[in-house]
Amino acid sequence: MNKKRVLCFILITGVLSLSVLTATAFGLSDAYKGNIYQMGTLKPIDSVLKVKVGKLAPDFTLPSVSGEKVSLNQFRGKRNVVLSFVPAAWTPVCSDQWPGYNIAKDIFNQYDAVLLGITVDNIPTLFAWTNQMGQLWFPVLSDFWPHGAVAKRYGLLRSNGVSERALFVIDKKGIIRYIDVHDINKRPPLEDLVGALEKLKK
C-alpha cells in the first residue's frame, strides 16, 4: 500500500515537473516590458475546424487597425492570401509572432502573397498592442464583433472566446491550400509556412 502511495506521488510530481518544463518555452521581447499577461499552458487545440484544404475559403469583411475594411474576396484573382489568426493581444507567443512576419515581407512577396493578421480583440487594443511591434506592413484585422464570428465560421473559436493560433494559405482562386491549427502554446516555425507557399508554385 505504502509503495503504491510513493509511486503515485512520484508519478504526480513527475508529470507536474514536465508540465512546468514545457509551460514557459517561449521567447519574449523586452519591447513589451512587463505588459504581457502570462496565460500558463493551455489546451493545445480547443475547437473543431469547419473548413478543409481544397475547399473555398469562406469570405469575410473585417475592420483593420488602419481604418479601412478588408475583405478576403478583394484578393481573388490577384494575390495569394495568408491568414494568421492569433489568440489574443498582450499574451505570450502571439506577441512574438507577427514581428517576425514583419521582417519577412520579401518572402511573402516572393510568393505573391498578402498576409492578413486576425484576432478577436477590438481595434483600440490591437492599435496599442501592434504599436509595440514597430510599423507592420500587413493589415491587422479585428474579429471582435460579432464576437469571433470569422473564427467561429472557420472553426477556430475556443471555448473561452479567443481564437486558435492558426495559419491558412489561400490561393488566387480562393481555395484553401494549407491549414495549420497550431498548438496555441507554440509558435509555428516560419519554414513550415514558407514550404506551404512554395507548393503554390507547383
Binding site: 509511486l7 510530481t13 518555452a25 521567447g27 519577412a104
Partner: protein, 186 residues
C-alpha cells in the same frame, strides 16, 4: 520497478539543470551552452575554431566574447540589429581590439531558417546560432530579449561573466567602451 522509479524521477532531477531560475549574472560562469562549430570557414576562422562538432563559448579564441540572446521575432532585437552590426565593424576595424573581442548571437526559439532570415534581413556579419527548442534560452533563465552577456576568457582557460544587460543597447561606441572596461582590456 527500479527503472520505473528512475523514469518517473527523471523530470524532477533534470528540471533544475534545464531551466535556470534566473539569468546568468556578473561574476558567475556561463551555464552549460554547447554550440555547433560553424560550417562556414569564415565563421570558424573568426571564432578561432576548427573541425566539426560542438564547442563551448570559452573555447572561442578571444579575451572577451559578447553574446547576444536575440530572436527574429523580437522587435527590439530587430531595432538593435544595425547598431550591433556597427559594434562588430568597430571591433574588426580596430587593430588593438580585433582579435581580442568576438561577437556571437543565439536565436532563442529560432529555427535555423528563422536565424537565416534575421541574418539576411540585417546583413549580420557575425555568427548566429539557432536555439530552436529553447535549450540555451532555458539554461539562461528564460531571459527576455535582447539579452547581452560579456564573457571574459582568462589565459588559463577559465572564464567569468563580467557584464550582463537586458536591452538598453546604448550604441556601438559606448557598448564597446563598456565591454573593454568590464573585461579588463582597457
Amino acid at each position: 520497478m527500479v527503472i520505473t522509479v528512475i523514469t518517473l524521477l527523471f523530470p524532477i532531477t533534470v528540471y533544475p539543470a534545464l531551466t535556470a531560475a534566473k539569468p546568468p549574472e556578473k561574476g558567475e560562469v556561463l551555464p552549460l551552452i554547447n554550440l555547433p562549430i560553424p560550417k562556414s570557414p569564415e565563421e570558424r576562422n573568426y571564432l578561432g575554431l576548427s573541425g566539426s562538432g560542438l564547442f563551448k563559448i570559452p573555447q572561442i579564441k578571444a579575451n572577451a566574447v559578447i553574446v547576444e540572446i536575440f530572436s527574429m521575432y523580437c522587435p527590439f532585437c530587430q531595432k538593435d540589429a544595425p547598431g550591433v552590426n556597427e559594434l562588430y565593424r568597430l571591433i574588426e576595424n580596430n587593430i588593438d581590439v580585433k582579435n581580442k573581442v568576438k561577437l556571437i548571437g543565439v536565436g532563442a526559439g529560432n529555427s535555423p531558417y528563422e536565424v537565416e532570415v534575421f541574418k539576411k534581413t540585417y546583413n549580420v556579419p557575425f555568427p548566429l546560432f539557432p536555439d530552436k527548442d529553447f535549450t540555451i534560452h532555458k539554461t539562461c533563465g528564460e531571459v527576455r530579449t535582447p539579452y547581452y552577456m560579456v564573457v571574459k576568457i582568462n589565459e588559463n582557460g577559465t572564464h567569468q561573466i563580467v557584464h550582463t544587460q537586458l536591452g538598453e543597447y546604448p550604441g556601438a561606441e559606448p557598448f564597446l567602451e563598456l565591454v573593454l572596461k568590464a573585461s579588463g582590456l582597457k
